[in-house]
């Protein structure tokens, strides 16, 4: 049995790639109408964009690192960690605090993560981004569910709201 990867490590990114390719769980699919998932699959099949999903205040690093995800033809063609010194090139750049990534992993709702601006769009065309918002939200939930070791922080963490 493989060890659980560290959050925002290369092996975690590899697990994220596999999880995104597999898509939402049967449990998640059962809770929503098939027409919603048909729309999700339609968007996924033609989505040509990339995301750089930032984690601010990553413990041990102390700065922002990004998970880069490239979509093409319905599959993830690139999924890796971009460090603070590497160039950041993605269709959409988004950022979220470490504590909110941890809350997402612990079950905080992905829709509210967007609505409550836990994750924000830092760069990219807003109206184009929202044409695929259900695909993004469901994918964010998938990423949050990937097993990982989340380091403890020294600072107290306020309850996620």
């Amino acid at each position: 049995m493989s060890p659980v990867p560290d959050f925002f490590s290369p092996s975690w990114a590899e697990s994220v790639r596999a999880a995104l390719t597999a898509g939402p769980s049967e449990q998640a699919r059962a809770a929503k109408l098939q027409e919603y998932w048909d729309f999700f699959e339609l968007i996924k099949s033609m989505y040509p964009a990339s995301w750089a999903l930032g984690c601010r205040d990553l413990p041990d690093l102390g700065s922002t690192a990004y998970l880069f995800v490239q979509w093409d033809g319905g599959t993830v063609t690139g999924c890796r960690i971009i460090g603070p010194d590497e160039p950041l090139e993605a269709t959409y750049v988004l950022g979220m605090d470490y504590r909110d990534w941890k809350a997402l992993h612990e079950g905080y709702d992905a829709q509210r993560t967007v609505m409550y601006r836990k994750i924000v769009l830092e760069d990219g065309d807003l109206l184009e981004f929202f044409k695929a918002i259900y695909f993004f939200v469901e994918s964010l939930a998938v990423i949050g569910s990937v097993p990982a070791v989340y380091p403890q922080t020294l600072r107290s963490v306020a309850p996620a709201r």
């Binding site: 027409e35 729309f39 609505m115 929202f130 044409k131 709201r161």
Partner: protein, 334 residues
């Protein structure tokens, strides 16, 4: 609430003419008298001034006359109706529709302040009043969910957490977009194009279309059945508040397009995004227990959108017309 007209009767009757007496009744009713006001008249009142939109100072003065105290409402009879008279099917349908508003009011309350920065001084007065309205509407739903539905929570967010399971996944499209548009305005408060895109989502779509539809569905049910008098009173007063918001928002969009006709492109681009994600639902809401069919809700939804666009003079491009045909109502609002 003597009249027991079918909730959907207005769809067959079409737009109604309001007499001066009816307008006075809507405008001047104190909170206790709002129970007697017909919700269809209030929705008609929303549209009354859309062709010759009032200025922001007039809207602010109306606010000063029409503001009401949300703590004056007594939900005692509503609780009896909810627990003893309404069927389980009615309760589930009602809460499925109303929860979009419970969360929607909170969203529009907190996303509006940044829009004020780039506004004219007169419009700032109107927006400040609107923020207070939205906060009051948030408290209204908090009280309804605690005192009538029986949800528990130590604070407002805890009650929102408790009602969130009824919120549809498609809620994120208009309200998540609004949050991100507010962020855009926070960074660029004087970007007029960003303001028009924000205004299209907030004032035209969320308030002008979504909110008025959900108001109509639950309020006409309450009036038809003679149930939930405090809900009817508070939410009809909310609808009267919304008339000022929609009129102010349409005034802003109309002025922006008159000043710079290319702004219509920002309105169209925003509608293109909204409509392209509005052709799908994630869960089925059963409207029948509230006296509506899916097709009637859809007709109501289109009626609200068409009237706003026509009255304000916003035309749609052919691709938007095509997208519009595929739209499914999301019953939420703010």
């Amino acid at each position: 609430m003597a009249e027991r007209k079918s909730p959907t009767a207005v769809l067959r009757e079409g737009p109604r003419a309001l007499s001066d007496d009816q307008v006075r009744e809507i405008e001047d009713s104190a909170l206790a008298e709002v129970l007697q006001v017909d919700i269809d008249d209030v929705i008609e009142y929303v549209h009354k001034d859309l062709k010759s939109l009032p200025d922001f100072t007039t809207l602010y003065r109306k606010y000063l006359k029409q503001r009401w105290d949300v703590y004056d409402l007594d939900f005692t009879q509503d609780k009896v109706d909810w627990q003893e008279k309404m069927t389980e099917e009615e309760r589930q349908s009602f809460i499925a529709v109303a929860s979009g508003f419970h969360h929607g009011e909170r969203q529009v309350e907190i996303e509006l302040p940044v829009f004020m920065i780039g506004a004219s001084e007169e419009e700032k007065l109107h927006i400040a009043a609107q923020i207070e309205d939205e906060a009051r509407h948030t408290v209204f739903f908090d009280r309804f969910y605690r005192e009538v539905v029986g949800l528990k929570g130590d604070d407002i967010m805890a009650v929102l957490d408790a009602s969130f399971p009824w919120v549809s996944e498609t809620f994120v499209a208009p309200f998540g977009l609004l949050a991100y548009q507010a962020d855009e305005l926070r960074l660029h408060p004087y970007d007029e194009r960003a303001r028009v895109r924000y205004g299209t989502n907030y004032f035209l779509w969320i308030e002008g279309v979504l909110a008025l539809s959900v108001m109509k569905v639950t309020l006409s049910y309450a009036r038809w059945r003679g149930f939930l008098p405090a809900y009817y009173t508070g939410f009809t007063a909310t609808c009267r508040d919304e008339s000022r918001h929609v009129q102010g928002g349409m005034r802003y969009l109309q002025d922006a397009v008159r000043k710079d006709p290319t702004m219509i492109n920002e309105i169209h681009d925003t509608l293109r995004t909204i409509l392209s994600v509005s052709g799908v639902v994630s869960r089925r809401i059963y409207y029948e227990p509230l006296g509506w069919t899916d097709d009637e809700v859809r007709a109501l939804f289109f009626l609200q959108l068409r009237r706003k666009l026509n009255d304000v003079g916003i035309g749609l491009s052919p691709d938007l017309e095509e997208l519009l045909q595929r739209v499914q109502p999301v019953l939420a609002g703010g």
